[in-house]
Symmetry: C2
């Protein structure tokens, strides 16, 4: 393989940036390493490596494998820093440092002691979306919300900080975002009435620097009522409380368990907030700001620059946490800094990431039926709001009424599984769900640390379609159009990887790693790994050879039936029934499979 020159990013490094960040960005630009879960700060999940390409990917072989020693859902991916691979597991969140020069020999292993009481307060399996690297440290955010900085060489604990309280339903599944001299972390617990927040810790000391809640008083949510905007307008005072009835915002959800992006030039961090609590919309009148919102915040202060709430007053659990993919593309003849986001609600949004202007909002699965689409007329009082179809409004149908045939299901047209972007083709490669639901809200009362869900769900494949529960699609974010679509029997719960070789990789819940032609979607290779895949494909180089790595281990929300041994169709927040057939294809696991071309 020819060595690739380090990619020089189009963006100049901003002056005030800490040197740790400069090093990290240089490493991100080196396609031989995989230094951050999201591939790079832009969440593009694109690799410049092209040794494995359309012509030869069909010859791919398994190079080596490793069991993580843990069962249940394995999300995220390993990192590769130099000759070391860092591998994490779901609860109990073991971290391995593997020596790639010695066939993956274990250099060190870190196994936190965590109270297993955290397991029942994790909504959607005991997943963890992986560790991060910066400044010689590996950052692990444990299920119990302990953030740990480990010396990357020795595995020794450098510092640890406690971000939340599992006894109140506060847990973690997300990776962290190292930015400048801080580590930015989220929190889970939207099904337990947790009020979501994002917190920055000092990278060297673990001291808390800022915290921004998703709802609450202005000083909690870090807005400037005059300068923080929503669709171009200042949010005004008390925006995080005045769309709530009474104190409901205190148990308002809007958790922050997704992927984080960063624009170094703007020094802005992008992420989305989750569903408002409870799932019974009648209990929380109002728009429930800022749940279901894309947020742009200053990395150093947490101050919000702009918000965009995609699903005001959610009635379907369409958490807005999916990744924000940052691109530079021409729109109407002008180069713009864009943010593209495939939301749970079935709409794909293209926005100007500097201003927060909404450019495109289109369904990325034609079966989406709860909305007729977003009002795009800036003059309309409905501007930027999805127009709700009454038949599928669980609020309008009322409590204790089963609203049937809603598409997508609560787990959305896409959930946490991250999409990839091919900058050459300007195409987004998107793992999707093709699932609909029945949803019956009911009244629920809040007790700290107890489920605060308030709806009974059933999920099933989108009716009158190909019969499967997923598609892997290519999306044009400017035209707002599907380019091609591959039907899949189950939701594609794995993160995609696009490569300069013209090949895009993804995994399936049955356990296949698949490689397709990025341009056409034609299948070029598939391999049955030990267990269902909900991890994200990554790639790296070792000794001048390109490798592709993927974690297997069925689970996550889609695989919760298998992962937690549930069989009642309505269990697992409604997911068990729809995915029951998964047990005909795969069993619990926890393995890394690494591929390469034959010698």
């Amino acid at each position: 393989m020819k060595k690739l020159l380090a990619l020089t990013s189009g963006l100049a490094l901003s002056a005030g940036m800490a040197s740790a960040n400069a090093e990290l960005m240089e490493m991100m630009n080196d396609p031989n390493q995989w230094v951050i879960q999201t591939g790079d700060y832009k969440n593009q999940r694109y690799s410049q490596l092209d040794s494995i390409n359309k012509e030869n990917v069909g010859d791919l072989q398994v190079a080596w494998t490793m069991s993580t020693g843990v069962l249940r859902g394995h999300e995220g991916s390993p990192l590769v820093i130099g000759d070391t691979m860092y591998l994490h597991t779901p609860f109990p969140n073991i971290v391995y440092a593997l020596d790639l020069n010695e066939d993956g020999r274990i250099k060190w292993k870190y196994e936190p002691k965590q109270d297993p009481d955290v397991i029942p307060v994790m909504c959607c399996d005991t997943v963890n979306r992986g560790v991060a690297y910066a400044d010689g440290k590996i950052f692990l955010h444990q299920a119990d919300t302990t953030v740990v900085a480990l010396d990357a060489e020795s595995g020794e604990v450098v510092w640890s900080a406690v971000n939340g309280d599992p006894s109140k339903g506060e847990t973690n599944t997300a990776t962290v975002l190292p930015v400048n001299d801080k580590v930015i972390v989220g929190i889970s617990g939207g099904e337990f009435g947790v009020r979501g927040h994002v917190t920055a810790y000092d990278m060297s000391s673990g001291e808390q620097v800022w915290r921004a809640y998703s709802m609450g008083p202005d000083e909690d949510i870090l807005v400037d009522p005059e300068n923080t905007t929503h669709l171009g307008e200042p949010v005004g005072e008390n925006s995080g409380t005045n769309t709530w009835e009474g104190d409901q915002w205190m148990i308002g959800g809007g958790t922050t368990w997704g992927w984080y992006s960063y624009d170094a030039e703007e020094n802005l961090v992008y992420y989305g907030t989750g569903n408002p609590s409870t799932w019974n919309p009648a209990q929380r009148p109002g728009d429930n700001r800022w749940s279901m919102t894309i947020m742009a915040r200053d990395a150093d202060t947490g101050m919000a620059k702009w918000f965009y709430q995609m699903t005001p007053h959610d009635e379907w659990d369409y958490d807005g946490i999916n990744e924000m993919i940052l691109t530079e593309q021409e729109v109407d003849g002008e180069m713009r800094k864009l943010l593209t986001h495939f939301d749970r609600n079935g709409l794909a949004y293209t926005m100007d990431r500097v201003s927060g202007e909404l450019l495109v909002a289109e369904k990325y699965d034609p079966v989406v039926n709860w909305t007729t689409g977003v009002d795009m007329d800036p003059e309309s009082d409905q501007y930027g709001r999805p127009q709700v179809v009454a038949q599928y409004s669980t609020e309008q149908n009322g409590e204790d009424v089963n609203s049937t045939g809603i598409c997508p299901a609560a787990l959305g047209t896409k959930d946490q599984q991250p999409a990839a972007y091919d900058p050459n083709l300007e195409l987004f490669l998107v793992p999707t769900n093709h699932v609909c639901m029945d949803y019956e809200p009911f009244r629920v009362s809040y007790t700290a640390g107890q489920p605060y869900v308030g709806a009974t769900l059933a999920m099933y494949p989108a009716p009158d379609s190909h019969g499967g529960m997923g598609n892997f699609i290519a999306w044009d974010n400017i035209a707002g159009e599907i380019k091609w679509s591959i039907p899949e029997q189950f939701s594609v719960w794995s993160g995609a990887l696009a490569t300069a070789g013209g090949v895009t990789f993804y995994g399936t819940l049955e356990g296949y790693l698949k490689a397709v032609d990025t341009e056409t979607g034609d299948e070029l290779y598939k391999f049955k790994t030990p267990s269902g895949i909900i991890g994200n494909v990554m790639t790296y180089t070792h000794n001048d050879e390109q490798y592709v790595g993927i974690l297997s281990g069925v689970g996550g929300w889609a695989g919760i039936g298998l992962a937690a041994g549930l069989t009642n169709p309505n269990d697992g927040l409604g997911a068990v029934g729809g995915y029951a057939a998964l047990s005909d294809y795969t069993a619990l696991g926890g393995q890394l499979t690494v591929f390469k071309l034959p010698n």
Copy 2:
């Protein structure tokens, strides 16, 4: 690949044999299937398949993989019957039927409900050495000693029988032997004072037909005092009680947890019995017959034809249960029906399997030091007895004295990991341990269901050798000589497979599947599987292509530290310390990896 003609065995089928057996033997002779854990009734673990051979084995690739959904030690192997693969797991002893025509889709899954209280009474990990097939049924012998017959097509339970009582320490890890119209099963619990026995159940009904204890009155041990022989002499009356003091034989051990062989012409079943209980020899004066004994019994009645006690009055826990490999070979110009056995005690025995005559008894690891060898002079009063070196006699050194530097360690020069036989080269391919020990016996009292061990052990690599804890060797059973030896860092705890392609396969505790030239021992291929290997390599054909399958999942006695999370060096009956470095190489797992040549 050219289809191979069904091997016509040199033996005529005996007249009285049930038709189920005729079908089973025909299937065993079809190298395209793998119908019994041991490869065939002879325990040769040899395959006539030669598509994968010395020339091309270096190109082997992983074809597909499957997680079993269970962690800890995975012993045994899958079976292949036609287009179906049957896969088992350690406790809870799940059985999967996989459709090979549909990429291993799960046809059915059987998961017994077993009381987890059985786990702490399993001495050496929660292993199971696999299912057996006969007469349209899959036979599973669960950890809790329930024997279950499952319909091979549907997975429905046809019958089940209870063979023992875990509350008294009776458990099971062994596979069963289907013979004629019976299923023959053993029992574990030598570390709990269980009195071992072998039991035959009716294959269609599950009714018990006969049971033969290892010690006790003649009617319990099924001997004919006049006609059952030991080294050519009748055993005489009360042979199972008169070498014990008092009633000690009632808690005498001699469990039967190993592999079983069968000679259809003689209608004899061969197996070995385990250590006498307790491990403190001072508590059980006498030869402790018939612990540590090779037994030949009539398959239909259980009546013993001959016995050979290898280690009278054991002082080191050298269970005699290792497999008996049946061959027909020329000895001094005469074709003989032989039985070759690599005992834990470090001696490899070649016997006439019809008469029970001892032909060869030689050390198969030069470090063996507890004995100077077996007295082979039929005129001697020591005939057939190993001569004990006083320095290493834990009995002579006495209770509460630490006898140091004993070779081999309690887990023997070989433990349960079965050897293979290449009939062309007349070579045995033997996975071995290269481990020594310190052994300090102490007085212990018996309580049903409680450990009845009475010794503290420490294990370590054989001193003044290559530093590793294992060797993979080729053995000439007529000359009693090692032909070649491959040093390994850890004990080779995996069962070997020899093939007509001139290639022998085995797995390592670090997780490598290795292929070597059977003639020379030269390494031809290796691949790092997800977890340490203690399973046995098997091979089969599907759609005219040869496949090689192996279970990974570190554990067993050698891997008990990892498997059960033990760290005190003396824990795990002394094995934890010696194998501690394993955690630098591998983690818990449970996966099948299937290999084939590239297309």
